[in-house]
């Protein structure tokens, strides 16, 4: 209640302040307003003649010969007269006519109603809250695949034929380690088998090789062995002592199987 009253008075004060803003204050001469004392003249009797004789004065009445300016017919005009005092005052002061108070220009100004509730400023807007979700969408279950890392069973191939095609090195026995009687027996069989004189033969070695299935045979003198290429029949054939010799006169190779006792 007091607040509204206070605001209204403040509005009225502001209105008056705006109305009289700009007034120029002029210093007035004090003379006219000073009181002056004057002495009054002494009353004197001035003799007058007696009553003067009435004199009749004849006045001629002129006829209206000219058009009389119809001033009298002019409509009455209103004239705004200011009060003299104000005019005098206005000679010294500048009268400002309030525009809002001019006739025909005045308008009703709607005074906006005062807010019923004061707006409180300065408070920060609350931060925007993140949207919360109650739960995430469940992940799709991935499809599982089974890939057996085990290595496949390997198949086995028989390759004896391929192996037999390769030369087999067979080491010669040390004939010096053989019993003398046995060696004599072998020597005799060699002479019989080859038909050569034992003095003309140089024994290269005694080898135990299959009695059948030997397809090829070569001598490796550097290592004292023979290289044989075999046939499948050699697998099951019995092994027998085989003597390889060289004929001394022409270097030809001679060989024969000998019999074990």
């Amino acid at each position: 209640m007091f607040g509204r009253m206070k605001d209204a008075m403040a509005d009225a004060a502001e209105t008056l302040r705006q109305a009289f803003a700009g007034l120029t204050v002029v210093e007035a001469q004090p003379g006219p307003f000073l009181l002056h004392s004057h002495g009054s003249a002494a009353l004197a009797a001035e003799p007058r003649a007696a009553l003067e004789v009435p004199v009749a004065e004849c006045r001629e009445m002129r006829l209206l010969r000219e058009a009389v300016e119809g001033r009298a017919l002019e409509p009455f005009r209103t004239e705004l007269r200011a009060e003299g005092g104000w005019a005098r005052w206005g000679a010294e002061a500048e009268v400002i006519r309030m525009t809002p108070l001019e006739a025909g220009r005045a308008a009703r100004v709607a005074v906006p109603p005062l807010p019923r509730k004061a707006q409180v400023l300065g408070s920060l807007e609350p931060p925007v809250r993140p949207a919360t979700r109650r739960q995430l969408d469940p992940l799709l279950r991935p499809g599982t695949r089974r890939l057996d890392p085990r290595l496949e069973a390997v198949s086995v191939v028989s390759g004896l034929g391929a192996m037999l095609s390769m030369a087999v090195p067979i080491r010669g026995e040390d004939i010096h380690r053989l019993p003398k009687g046995l060696w004599m027996r072998y020597s005799l069989q060699l002479v019989r088998g080859t038909g050569e004189n034992v003095r003309n033969l140089e024994v290269l070695g005694l080898f135990r090789i299959p009695r059948k299935g030997v397809a090829d045979l070569s001598h490796d003198p550097r290592q004292g062995r023979i290289l044989v290429r075999l046939e499948p029949a050699a697998i099951t054939a019995p092994r027998g002592p085989f003597i390889l010799a060289r004929r001394k006169d022409d270097g030809a190779l001679l060989s024969c199987f000998v019999e074990d006792p």
């Binding site: 890392p149 086995v156 191939v157 390769m166 050699a234």
Partner: protein
Amino acid sequence: MAEPIKLAYFMAVKEGTSYLGGLLVTDTSGIPLDFRYTEPITPTRLQSILYGKSLEPHLKEEVIQKTLLKELKTPPDLFILSATELAGGWSGDAKYPVLAVQKSQEAPLTKVGDAFRSGPRELLIQLTEGAAPLRVMFAASVDAVAQEQALGKLLEAGYHMDLAEPLERVTAALQSLVVKDS
């Protein structure tokens, strides 16, 4: 008459991205009695990733070697590997004495048949007169008694044949088979 000694030589090789192995059974003269080899196995990329470093040992021991041993009709007296395979930690079947043979550059021993033990599982044996002795390395599964028994068989076979040579033959055969297939 005693049963002839049979020597089984196993070798697995890698050619490109494929693995294959061969098993050669010989008599004491080195003459082939049986030879079987596997078809080349080419692991897939996924298998190579999943197996990692264990792929090669697994292939050689679990797949190739066991498959080849199953094919043997009669068990060998000695199962001979390359020294590289044995050093990689052989963990195969212990029914046969497993060993590796390797030519050495050591000075010859006194006489043929001599043996010099250089370790609990390694020894040198003199098989031929004047030549360098042969180095023999046994697998961890072969105890001392089995080693002595195997040593006698090695001396007997080594008298007639080069004990290390058949491994070269198996390798050459496998390589020729790969070339033939490709």
